[in-house]
């Protein structure tokens, strides 16, 4: 795969070339960054830590119509997913997260909505040079310049961006923008390696997951679950904003004579999530829900799909209103083992 250089002065032109497709870019929204369809001529600044809502929303929307139907009708209309989408500025952890939930959406029966969107998306990543306060990607199999799940990786080299194609889709982007690019020689590659090495050293949080997947079942009744969930408000932020959380609800909505069945993000941190119609709840309190969240990510998912369902993006730590900290929980798990 090829690597090219893009002078930063040509950045708006580069983004302009991508604009023919359904282009999503990171955009400042108050004090947060969110991914949104690009406005005409919009060239995002690549100076953010990460978006608040992970870019999974482009392939797994928060609310999505499964099919439409008329009241008293039998014909179902399934929305067609036809748009080629480009996601620009995806952090490596979030791209890796999609490869992790790909496994869920394609095991046994395929999920046609998710997989079609995945097929139609080109992911252009942005390597991390300044990891966030609570980033711990390198503990769980990622790195600031991981290319897993990406089609093209952008590395900020100061005056230039280094553009490395990872897949055929990435090569196609380089080809489409060839007149803006220069050949990348040995120097920029060495420069990149130095920058990434420095970035890795700037990661402050860490946990060694060794022993956790096999060990968690032994801690089922450990007092730690009461301890780590005591302050939980059950708001669900940790799961809603998690790039590997994939759970959803299915609901029917009717307005006038038009109805739709849709799915929306759901959270295992909500009591209703598992509530039986009889009133019985197999996970009645936040202790059981927190235990399930950690077990699902660090044990069940590993058993089923051979990968930890956490990429160390730090969102659940950064955005928890009561400072519940997954790295700290995992530390307590290790201690209890």
């Amino acid at each position: 795969m090829s690597a090219m250089l893009l002078n930063k002065e040509k950045w708006p032109d580069f983004v302009g070339k991508l604009a023919g497709k359904n282009l999503w870019v990171p955009r400042a929204d108050g004090d947060a960054i969110r991914f949104a369809p690009a406005a005409e001529g919009e060239a995002p600044a690549l100076d953010y830590s990460n978006s608040r809502v992970p870019p999974k929303q482009a392939v797994f929307p928060q609310t999505e119509t499964l099919f439409r139907f008329k009241v008293d009708g039998e014909d179902l209309e399934v929305p067609q997913i036809e748009d080629q989408t480009v996601l620009l500025g995806v952090r490596p952890c979030d791209a890796r997260a999609m490869t992790i939930i790909d496994k869920l959406f394609s095991w046994d029966e395929n999920d046609p909505y998710y997989l079609k969107r995945r097929e139609m998306v080109t992911m252009i990543g942005l390597a991390c040079t300044e990891p966030g306060l609570n980033c711990f990607c390198s503990s769980v199999g990622g790195s600031p310049a991981s290319t897993e799940g990406l089609d093209l990786l952008i590395v900020d080299l100061g005056e230039n961006y280094l553009l490395e194609a990872v897949t055929e889709k990435g090569e196609a982007v380089l080809k489409d923008t060839a007149d803006l690019l220069d050949e990348a020689k040995d120097d920029p590659i060495q420069q990149k390696e130095k920058i990434i090495k420095e970035a890795e050293q700037k990661i402050k949080r860490s946990v060694d997951p060794e022993g956790i997947p096999e060990g968690l079942p032994r801690l089922w009744e450990d007092p730690l679950w009461q301890r780590v969930s005591a302050s939980c408000l059950g708001c669900g932020t940790c799961t809603f904003l998690c790039p590997t959380c994939h759970c959803f609800d299915i609901q029917d909505e009717t307005e006038g004579f038009e109805s739709r069945r849709c799915r929306t993000w759901d959270s295992c941190m909500f009591g209703e999530y598992t509530l039986h119609t009889s009133g019985h709840n197999p996970r009645p309190t936040r202790r059981e829900r927190t235990r399930n969240r950690i077990n699902h990510k660090y044990s069940y998912y590993v058993d089923k799909f051979d990968v930890i369902a956490c990429v160390g993006c730090g969102r659940c730590i950064n955005l928890c209103p009561v400072n519940i900290d997954i790295v700290n929980i995992l530390g307590q798990v290790k201690e209890a083992l």
Binding site: D111, I250, S259, P282
Partner: protein, 282 residues
């Protein structure tokens, strides 16, 4: 009607017949359902123990046990307790009305493995719904099995499902059918007492026997204890689990018990597997 192999698109079906099994606020109504599309109907292939998502467009879907055996014909039966929004809407349905069906979902009872063995089903209340297809299947293939004993109980005679069918069975010498209710009633000529104690009274031999139990959690707990007292090994005991479900295909997340998805890895579980999952009886 299912297009592009989209597992979220239900099949259209028609309610052919309905009747009430029990009355009261939480009445149980049975629906005999026929899939509309001939090809879909021919390709439908469920096994005892499996479930289906049945629903009403505009209201939603619920995962319900298929309470008939494929040996009974090209139709499906569901016995539904009126509980929440979807089951309320289902209870409004009458013969000729439309219903949606997705499935069949989940694993099933390993009836092939059980050939040559004596089959003992122990059900309570609506928990008889997944037991009934086993009973019907074994009745239809009686020579392949070493006999059939059925224990079924409910709080009152009015709470027993499929009572008419089992009254006939109780007269049949080939099958051993035992009905019980919790408290004495006039004109009740079967057993009085809880299901777990009736199991002890019958004292079935564990030899070459498979025991399957389904019912309220408290009943299951005591049935399991009593089966152990009778000398049953864990591997000889099966039960079914239920949890809230939305997708039925192992994606939406919520039905997990430990690392198992009840919709995919269940609903049928061998007790030897189940007792290793701390959350299974939560």
């Amino acid at each position: 009607m299912r297009t592009n192999n989209n597992p979220y698109i239900p099949y259209n079906a028609t309610v052919e017949d309905t009747w009430y099994e029990t009355g009261g606020e939480r009445a149980i109504k049975t629906f005999k359902v026929v899939l509309d599309d001939e090809e879909v109907r021919k390709n439908w292939n469920h096994c005892p123990g499996q479930c289906a998502m049945i629903g009403v467009l505009g209201v939603g879907e619920s995962m319900i046990s298929i309470s008939c055996s494929p040996t009974e014909g090209e139709f499906l039966r569901f016995s539904v307790m009126r509980m929440g929004k979807v089951t309320q809407a289902l209870h409004q349905l009458e013969p000729g009305d439309k219903i949606t069906v997705r499935g069949p979902y989940g694993n099933s009872f390993p009836l092939d493995e059980w050939q040559g063995k004596h089959i003992l089903t122990i059900g309570g209340g609506i928990g008889q719904a997944p037991m009934r297809p086993i009973v019907e299947y074994v009745k239809a293939n009686y020579d392949d099995y070493g006999g059939l004993t059925m224990i079924y109980g409910a709080r009152t005679s009015g709470d027993l499902c499929f009572k008419g069918e089992f009254e006939d069975m109780a007269q049949n010498d080939e099958l051993s059918c035992h009905l019980t209710i919790d408290v004495e009633e006039e004109d009740w000529d079967h057993n009085v007492g809880f299901v777990p104690s009736m199991l002890m009274d019958l004292n079935p031999s564990p030899e070459n026997t498979i025991a399957i139990t389904c019912g309220p959690p408290i009943m299951i707990r005591f049935v399991l204890e009593n089966l152990k007292k009778l000398g049953f090994e864990d591997a000889q005991i099966y039960t079914t689990l239920e949890n809230r479900m939305k997708c039925g295909i192992g994606k939406c997340g919520r039905c997990n018990t430990g690392g198992m998805y009840v919709c995919k890895d269940g609903p049928v579980f061998n007790y030897a597997t189940l007792k290793e999952i701390p959350e299974a009886f939560a």
